[in-house]
Amino acid sequence: MAQNTVLDGLNRITQGINDFVKTYVNEIDSNIPFSGVSSPSASNGTEKAAVGLGFLAGFAAGDGEGAAGSRAGELANAMGKTKDFVTIAVTETKEGLNIISSSENALRPAVRALLGSGEVAATGAGHAEVTGVNTAKQMGLTPTGVAASRGICPSCAQFLRDAGVAALSALKAVPF
């Protein structure tokens, strides 16, 4: 009896959180001028949901954002406090290889040490997301999606839309 009451309580709390997130994302969708980062092509709402969830999560990629998002966060954690100032991006390709890039000219050794088979370390200055997509193309691969360890900035989001590549993690909220 007592156990059921506790479970009922937990279910109500879980439902409440779900309702809050749905409401929050809908509110962003309808009221806040996120047109700079929200894509009309995101017909399934994934990108807009990512904006909302990113806002809630302090713009960090977190659980529930898929394998690439989790991997980007995991690799960034290897950098210690540097992770708050450097972005790691995971670019998925049609061919199955993942390109790992950063917002610096190369990956730091702690990140390099974590790379496994099927992951390629990209080099090159600029934002991690752009470096990842460009590296994939230079290697003759087809980039399909990019996740980043920090919020994807509006210019990178636009770059990804133009390139037909999906944003797989939260977008950076623009102050308004």
């Binding site: 610096e104 000219n105 190369a106 730091r108 590296t135 290697m139 900035c153």
Partner: protein, 194 residues
């Protein structure tokens, strides 16, 4: 970097004041990149310079105000906001100073270990930039690890440890003068050629 774990073991055997002095010597080698970055971009490096002075004072007496560290962390250069080629080295210098301040408060050797990692990261990123390529490779990593600049930094760290071991337990004015002389005469971590 090469010998990083070995250096941490050697440093851990030093007294906290000597560990702090070791970290300050490393920071002074990284400082030219931060100053050059600030001059080129208008980045305000004043809190790092104030923290540096406070840390030198702490060698003789006390710790550094945590508020100063918080200010430094807030203003550290973000690699997405600056495209200047020295951004990563300036960031690493800023983070080294943050760990130095934290070390004056808790004396945990983890901060010194992280400082060594940041020194190695700066060298790795610099050496990577000398060999432009689309992707990194294990061969390139090995070449970087064996580069004379990497070996030179490892030697300097070992020499610093020997030098610090020879100083008295309590740093008097003579010891501080000797340390400052060493700090000002050492070559920077990276050759600034941009």
């Amino acid at each position: 970097m090469i010998g990083e774990e070995k250096s941490v073991v050697s440093i851990a055997s030093l007294s906290p004041k000597r560990q702090l002095a070791f970290a300050l010597l490393a920071f002074e080698r990284m400082l030219p990149s931060l100053i050059a970055f600030s001059k080129d971009t208008g980045f305000d490096d004043s809190c790092y310079l104030r923290s540096k002075d406070a840390a030198w004072t702490a060698l003789q007496d006390g710790a550094v105000d945590q508020a100063l560290n918080e200010a430094c962390m807030r203003s550290a250069p973000d690699t997405e906001e600056f495209s200047h080629p020295l951004t990563s080295y300036a960031l690493n210098a800023a983070l080294v100073m943050s760990d130095i301040v934290e070390f004056t408060l808790d004396e945990k050797v983890d901060h010194i270990a992280y400082i060594l990692t940041l020194v190695g990261d700066s060298l790795h990123l610099y050496l990577s930039s000398l060999e432009p390529s689309v992707v990194s490779s294990p061969e390139k990593d090995r070449r970087i690890a064996r580069h004379p600049l990497m070996e030179q930094e490892q030697r300097r760290e070992e020499e610093d440890i020997k030098f610090l071991s020879g100083l008295p337990d309590q740093f008097d004015k003579n010891a501080i003068s000797a340390l400052k002389a060493r700090a000002t005469t050492q070559a920077p971590l990276l050759p600034l050629t941009h």
